[in-house]
Amino acid sequence: MLAFILRRLAQSIIVMAVVALIAFMLFRYVGDPVASLLGQDSRLEDFEELRERLGLNDPFYVQFGRFIGNALQGEFGISYRLQQPVSELIISRLPATIELAFASATIALVFGLTLGVFTALKPRSFASGVIMTLSLVGVSLPTFLIGIGLIYVFAVELQWLPSFGRGEVVDIGGWRTGLLTETGLRSLILPAITLSLFQLTLIMRLVRAEMLEVLRQDYIRFARARGLSKRAINFGHALKNTMVPVITITGLQLGSVIAFSIVTETVFQWPGVGSLFINSVQVVDVPVMAAYLMFIAFVFVVINLIVDILYFAVDPRLRVGAGRR
């Protein structure tokens, strides 16, 4: 197990290094940060001077080396735009994104699993057909349209829920949470639904497909032949086996919720890292963008690791050495 995790860690480091290179290299080309940093009255000399000061005139590898060195110390420089340390910015925005991601992941998981199991157990029922078709509608709706639609209906027309932001926040040891206030919770509803919809349908379809597959297995037939109750077969045997492949993909899907929140956060003006990223892209705030990409890669790596460990916990074939040749 330790060896396995170490191997994963080694791979993760490579992944991070590659992403760091991409992060740095790509953003180097997105646009000219200098032009957007200086105002309408700036002169040519100012541009040159600023480029020099930002080190933008150094050779590529020097800039990259500097970037990696700093990144290792959690130092991503000062945001060009907000003139604050990037790491601080990201950390201050993180609670918002994590709470949103967590809420939508929960929605996606709970409903995805329930509906997936339901449609797998009753594949030919009318309700399953309706759910499956609706899930396709969910996949076919672009996130931004869902967000706009929800705002229009629930915030503007019905005025039930807030249209933007995360309401009042309470500071608990540096973690600003919106989960403890009424406005905070109300603000969470629409973005969480918007963000979860896509993942929900994915998880649901995945669970359904895997469960149908499992239900077709010999050991399920054998469990029936042993006279086990429907309940024990469906939930004791089938569901547990379904979870093995579902964990991997779901884990990664939930990880990408954090990155996926870019569009949702933009539409709902949710003050998380995603909207920080979009705002930074617009003014080509390279340090923030690079740090964000690294952050996403880090989330991916961590989630991968958690998924692997979960896999170990669930699947004895990995956990216990085989007795066979």
Binding site: L44, L82, Q84
Partner: protein, 526 residues
């Protein structure tokens, strides 16, 4: 009902004890101030925010006239035309209680013109700043600078002691690796005090009870909420989550104005929207005419001028929220005249085609138009309309639409053949336009003139404006320059932007010509 009663009683109580009742405004606009360091960015949104915390020596009223703020009076020194004398307001206190003196003004002006300041070009003509006594400051210029006070409307005064104590004497620069105290903390003399700030999310200001002004603002608390998305911002106003929206899309003006409980204020901004083009002899980069530049022919430029239906743009694209114009200067600016402003009522495609044929392009030509899509009111839609109008006289335009971050470099690096730009004139003087848009691109002149237009005679006249003290003579020169610019069709003006602010009808706030609304001027209607 109960709420009303409480409000009423609080109001009654407030009248007895406090100068004003507690009144909060939630103020939404499309982006946040970039920094709190008042000398770090020369950018409208940042200045607007700073004006509530910090104050300048002079300010401008809604008509564009200079008015006193921290300076009570200012004049050129009698015996020396190169020295400006400012009288500093007495009895002004910073938020931390320190008193404002001439020392602070000298310190702030020096800081504003320091190397790392983003405002230094406004003070480029300053030689030195000295305090004559506790409340008098002299600014020595390198030559006669009749318009210098115009440059001071966004130069904020900081407390020398506070800044030095907190190690923030150097201006925070973009890309700097140090954290600067002044970026996130403030100590101004302004009518509001910063309570909390979460960049891009929410800033809270409360009233400064010790402010020097006799009349206290009606608003006692400001909650500042940047909301980037247009639809979300309007939705927030409609659903009652914000009280004031500064950047109202033109298409929503009508609906908002017709909504019960919402008031919309409109007014012209001191900003011209125009098209520029490359008109040197070198062939265009994006045209099918590869051996010469069709735009070098003034007939072609005239044809383009005639092809544009400015009224249609106003009516359809801008929903009436624009003031079409024939000259590239807003009416606020010294040098503007109604005669210059005249523009063709209707497009004259026939005549334009004739001119094109005369110039040798009976079938037109192709060209790429670069437009920003997130900077000015309906910028992309205006450009799109122009594409259609030019298409009708045979000029086939490809539209290249980009966020302003990618659009501006094209202009600064002269990589565009044809572009849309908006130009605000903070000094309210034509020289500001000539310096950057008309003068040959060289040195500190012509930074936004990628056209290749170079008229040495004109350049000389433009340069003379900076030092000419004789107002009559100076204005005559301005008129001469405009005449040439109009004849050569150096710029293709479309209209002056009209701004709209939408608010709960409890509040009233007039549109500020430089789009720098002052919340302390908000009045409450009972």
């Amino acid at each position: 009902m109960r709420k009303l009663l409480i409000t009423a009683s609080v109001l009654a109580l407030g009248l007895a004890i406090m100068p004003a009742s507690a009144e909060t405004i939630r103020w939404a606009r499309n982006s946040d101030a970039l920094t709190l360091d008042p000398h770090s960015q020369n950018q409208g949104t940042t200045h607007t925010f700073s004006h509530h915390i910090y104050e300048t020596l002079v300010d401008r009223d809604v008509e564009g006239n200079l008015i006193p703020r921290l300076a009570t009076e200012w004049s050129v020194k009698e015996d020396d035309p190169t020295v400006w004398v400012f009288k500093v307001r007495e009895g002004v206190k910073f938020h931390d209680g320190a008193e404002l003196t001439a020392e602070d003004v000298v310190f702030s002006l020096d800081r504003a013109r320091s190397d790392k300041s983003n405002l230094k070009q406004l003070h480029s003509a300053v030689a030195s700043v000295t305090a004559v006594d506790d409340f008098t400051v002299e600014v020595k210029m390198t030559g006669p600078s009749p318009l210098y006070p115009n440059n001071l409307t966004n130069t904020f005064i900081m407390d020398k002691g506070w800044t030095e104590t907190n190690n923030a004497v150097e201006v925070q620069q973009a890309g700097s690796t140090d954290d600067n105290y002044a970026v996130r903390n403030t100590n101004g003399t302004g009518p509001y005090i910063l309570v909390s700030r979460d960049p891009d999310v929410r800033s809270v200001l409360k009233i400064n009870e010790n402010h020097w002004a006799e009349s206290k603002p009606a608003i006692t608390e400001i909650i500042y909420l940047p909301i980037a998305d247009n639809a979300t911002r309007i939705a927030a106003l409609l659903s009652g989550e914000v009280d004031l929206v500064q950047d109202v899309p033109v298409q929503d003006v009508e609906r908002l104005a017709g909504t019960a409980g919402i008031r919309v204020e409109t007014g012209p901004e001191n900003r011209i929207i125009y098209f520029g083009y490359r008109l040197g002899e070198e062939p265009l980069k994006s045209s099918n005419v590869t051996d010469k530049n069709p735009l070098a022919d003034s007939k072609v430029r005239e044809a383009m001028h005639l092809a544009i239906d400015r009224n249609a743009i106003k009516q359809v694209v801008m929903r009436g929220q624009a003031v079409p114009t024939g000259v590239a200067t807003p009416p606020f600016v010294n040098g503007w005249t109604p005669e210059l402003d005249a523009y063709p009522e209707k497009a004259d495609a026939a005549k334009a085609k004739e001119l094109l044929a005369e110039a040798g392009y009976p079938d037109g030509f192709t060209i790429t138009l670069d437009t920003p899509n997130n900077r000015y009111v309906n910028d992309e839609a205006i450009s799109q309309a122009i594409v259609g109008m030019l298409g009708q006289i045979g000029i086939k335009v490809t539209l290249a639409s980009r966020p302003v971050a990618q659009h501006s470099p094209l202009i600064q690096n002269a990589e565009t053949d044809f572009y849309l730009l908006g130009w605000g004139v903070p000094t309210f003087d034509s020289a500001y336009i000539f310096n950057d848009l008309v003068h040959t691109k060289e040195g500190q002149y012509g930074a936004y003139n990628p056209s290749g237009y170079s008229n040495p005679e004109l350049d000389k006249k433009i340069q003379s404006l900076a030092t000419e003290i004789d107002v009559e003579k100076r204005n005559a020169t301005i008129a001469e320059i405009w005449k040439t610019v109009q004849e050569d069709r150096v710029l293709l003006p479309i209209h002056n932007q009209v701004l709209a602010y939408a608010m709960k009808d409890k509040f009233t706030l007039a549109v500020h010509p430089e789009n720098q609304p002052r919340i302390y001027e908000v009045t409450i209607n009972d």
